[in-house]
Symmetry: none
Subunit: 214 residues, 4 copies
Amino acid sequence: MTLEQSPTAPRRSRRKHARPSEIIAAALSEFAERGFAATKLDDVAARAGISKGTVYLYFADKNALFEAVVRQELLPVLARFEAIVDSYQGPSVDLLRGIAIRFEQVMDSELGGIPKLVLSESGNFPEIARFYADEVVARGLRLFSSILQRGVVRGEFRDIPAVDLMPVFVGPVLMMLLWKHSIGRHGNVAFDHRTVLATHLDMFLRALAPEAPR
Amino acid sequence: MTLEQSPTAPRRSRRKHARPSEIIAAALSEFAERGFAATKLDDVAARAGISKGTVYLYFADKNALFEAVVRQELLPVLARFEAIVDSYQGPSVDLLRGIAIRFEQVMDSELGGIPKLVLSESGNFPEIARFYADEVVARGLRLFSSILQRGVVRGEFRDIPAVDLMPVFVGPVLMMLLWKHSIGRHGNVAFDHRTVLATHLDMFLRALAPEAPR
Amino acid sequence: MTLEQSPTAPRRSRRKHARPSEIIAAALSEFAERGFAATKLDDVAARAGISKGTVYLYFADKNALFEAVVRQELLPVLARFEAIVDSYQGPSVDLLRGIAIRFEQVMDSELGGIPKLVLSESGNFPEIARFYADEVVARGLRLFSSILQRGVVRGEFRDIPAVDLMPVFVGPVLMMLLWKHSIGRHGNVAFDHRTVLATHLDMFLRALAPEAPR
Amino acid sequence: MTLEQSPTAPRRSRRKHARPSEIIAAALSEFAERGFAATKLDDVAARAGISKGTVYLYFADKNALFEAVVRQELLPVLARFEAIVDSYQGPSVDLLRGIAIRFEQVMDSELGGIPKLVLSESGNFPEIARFYADEVVARGLRLFSSILQRGVVRGEFRDIPAVDLMPVFVGPVLMMLLWKHSIGRHGNVAFDHRTVLATHLDMFLRALAPEAPR
DNA sequence: TATGAATGAGTATTCATTCAT
DNA sequence: AATGAATGAATACTCATTCAT
């Protein structure tokens, strides 16, 4: 009888605060899988284990949910990246390697769906696109720029404008990310993350190294 | 009888044959802008200058139209690339440069929207994704591989597996492409195609060059 | 065989122009019966003999339909009243009687539901209320005022401000109208239009007559 | 023990008994403003200063609340009117004047919204309509009839059937009432209660007066 | 009693698809 | 061939009602 007081009993109140993020997580999966328009709130709710109406207790409408997904998931990641760079002491080459490795980790989480989402929906959500461009990409660019500066100062890197270099650095990583969340799931072409990114990093650092002195 | 020679008569029948591709072109623009689900056939028809019902004279349904867009637009481009590579004679470095430049041209055409489209919709169109992976990417990989081989044989390139290298080569190009067709339209971050891709090519070739002999 | 060309054949094109007013008529009935919020567009469509979607070909949404019902049905009636008054020549007493009789006719048509509707929904449709106040009531007041003036000039009526007198004249008529479209349909109290309004008119004219000279 | 004498303790239990009528008052305002279907129980609860769930402690459902609003608010008023008439001694003309004045007072209270409500919702609540017709209107008619009788007996009024006369007497009053609670809130037509009703009463009594003997 | 989180039936609205002209 | 009016299935969103706390 007393066993009925199982540890899951206070489900209601405990879940209350978890709800928004549970919903966001479910929504991210669905949006990334099908895109905004093709995602049914019914499915989001089902995946979150709640009913349709409950979604509306926490988000005004489908758009607001979408925006929450993009905004709330990305910023913490960026902040973590910035913290790492700020506190780092050793050689810039290792810093860049560390960043690349963490990128891979993000890629393997559900978070990896967000870039695909923003890309796909920027036509329908100009504000999200602007947010992403100004808050994520621009911030990422500053971060990348500071890493480069550091390397240049320390004589480890050639001095190339960060705006021109970032797409070169990010492009292959992003491509693998998108690949994994879209086409890569089907068909028979198999890229191997590890070796691709290792190759990329090797090439990138090799090409960034200062000219060998004669 | 003589009326048949009116100047408008031939225009009609001429258009008759152009219709499908006019519709495909219109559909590509709309799909790329909004995604499959959010695109209304009304808008496609309007953009093609015809009525909604007419679309159904040429395409069974919206899905068929989408598949036609992806299939019919891409294959000719690929074929052209293959022809170029097959007939090329000079140094591999120049070949790679030439490919990169043509890539940029594709990027600037409406065709650039297709990768974004396939990416976005692969969750909803597994067949398209498979088609793209197997017919486009795999074929592109073979092409890229043959260029690399050529360079290796001629002593111009280091010998690195094409599967690992292609994402490194394509990633930055694709990224600029996607950027241009999505986020880049909004916000204040401005990448410059020319310099980014020039930087990329320079870095790539530099890193691919054989080790300088001591 | 040739009989197939029955006179109902061109149903499609003939109805096209009739559709909006058919829908408005159906909507008036439903709105008047149940009120705006409780009316289902499905029911409106069914009553008009069309499908739900068709309503949206002619009206942007439920609100627009409601506004069309109120606006398009009332103005013609008002105009007819004004025309009658303008062209009338005889004694003002008879004019007033004529007006009252026509009022009764309106009452017996579906149009009678509109005042009830405007009344009921003025809280939710301030614009409709304003339109009704300024375009219908104010115009009616001017009309009533001109009739009164006429009578005063001709020595038939005492001189009482129209703003104060109109509710006295209209109130009983309106009450019978509302009664008929609402409570009167239920319960066991039976007012008889004819005698009530005859009594009203008699009382009104009697009270409006100039003091008998001593 | 002594804590029970805290000043807040009695307030609570005092309110406990007031709750239903507080809810009814709040509901009346909301129903009158928006109609039954468009009224949200959330808003009623908020206006009553309680939570939505609490409404269900006192009323089975929204319908029951609506019926309570109409039933419980009207009957006491009617009873008061009847008491006044029963105990009145003086001239019938003054009685009628007194009734009219009290009518005005009711008009200015929230109670004035009830007729509008019953009118608007009689289509959806036949029982309410029947109740109103049989319990309120019929009873009012009896009341009015007894006043008339009194006047006729005393030689103050002409003898006109009450069924025909009541709408003439009530119509203008009701119209001002409805006006105030609906259209009159918007637009620029301004009727002045006092003078309109004074005019009405004057006209009515003048027309009801017996023919002057020659 | 009182709360307010959760539910899901009910509706407005959209849009791919059909088909009479 | 081409049209565009008509359809109705599909889906976002609301809100009365329930119930664990």
